[in-house]
Amino acid sequence: MKHTLARPADDLEQVMEAYGNMLFRICLVMLGNGSDAEDALQEVFIKYYSKAPAFTEEEHKKAWLITVASNQCRDMLRYRNKHPLAEDTDIYAYKTDDSKNSGILDALMTLPEKFRLVLVLHYVEEYPVQDIARMIGRTPSAVKMRLQKGRKLLKEAYGKEYM
């Protein structure tokens, strides 16, 4: 029966503590604003609570959460493309130290979502290409291509070296 509670309630807080910030960053970078990222995360956690498979290890759980989060964001972006809203990005509102503002995040947000996702997973969360390919359901060569093009686009948008 699908409706049974699959895991203890306290696990939810542990998962939020361990992966909340990471998932929020991914959703925020993909969607561009905090309220949408919150909605996406809520869906991710509901899915985790009711549909998550048995995880063999912690890394498996983390990868599953990233996959579900990126799919959820894609679904929301698809909906938003059909029902556009004039909403600005508020990514800076969630920085702990807003004095550091090099403009790299503004440049990142000008890139299409598919490049933003792979850049964040590779250069921020430090996932190897193979793992990213598994998470987003693409081939490693496709991920490499996206990283290559993403780096190029980001450099053009930022106007100088950033790594």
Partner: protein
């Protein structure tokens, strides 16, 4: 340079504590609602069963509260009749056997003229490969025995686009032909003779499901796959 500015700035982003608490709380509430609705369904089922079998009536006489019980039966019968009149997908939704997000398709005046299934991204796996002048799209239904998939008899691609290595859209459209699902797998074909040799990305945002005497159901999601031609 050796300095990863992107990582430095993104790692500074943190989810506010109150937002974390809100998400956990809403998730718990959603689960409680779900649990309650399951309990209510089970209670209703037990009530109807006990009415049908005459349970709790040890004397063999007509039950004292028969009027109330008959009104319950009438309510259930009305609900069943309504469900049968709504078409199979809607009927499944009404009985709670259908999960997922169905959206109404409305006309200009607000009248509901159909529905779409919105969250199929994780429920269908798509791969593609070129074979002479044709791009073969293999779709595997991961929940083939669940609604709405088992209701659908024939499949087509509702919306697709093909991009070249530079991201330029070189072809887009939908398939006119319909394809049958066998053991949860569908092999669909897109005619791509006009493409030049090279690497391409196929993006599908909608499949179309059809069944006899049913309105077509757009099954929406987002799938991308690379192929060489």
């Amino acid at each position: 340079m050796g300095k990863n500015l992107l990582k430095e700035e993104i790692k500074e982003i943190e989810m506010p504590l109150e937002m974390k608490e809100r998400v956990v709380e809403k998730c718990r509430n959603a689960q409680l609602d779900k649990k309650e609705s399951v309990n209510m369904k089970n209670t209703d089922k037990t009530n109807v069963e006990s009415i049908n079998t005459g349970e709790n009536n040890t004397t063999g006489k007509k039950p004292h509260n028969s009027r109330r019980k008959w009104s319950r039966i009438a309510t259930v019968a009305t609900a069943v009749a309504l469900c049968l009149g709504l078409g199979s997908v809607t009927a499944l939704a009404a009985t709670g056997k259908l999960e997922g997000f169905f959206a109404d398709v409305t006309r200009w005046d607000g009248a509901v003229v159909g529905e779409t299934y919105e969250q199929a991204t994780e429920e269908i796996e798509v791969t593609a490969y070129a074979e002479e002048d044709v791009l073969v799209v293999e779709a595997v239904l991961l929940k083939a025995n669940e609604a709405p998939y088992f209701v659908i008899e024939n499949w087509g691609i509702g919306k697709y686009s093909i991009q070249d290595a530079d991201g330029e859209v070189v072809a887009e459209g939908s398939t006119a032909a319909l394809f049958k699902a066998t053991d949860g797998k569908i092999n669909m074909e897109i005619f791509v003779a006009e493409l030049e040799a090279g690497s391409y990305t196929l993006t599908i945002t909608e499949f179309t499901g059809s069944a006899k005497a049913e309105q077509d159901l757009p099954v929406k999601g987002y799938w991308e796959c690379e192929f060489r031609f």
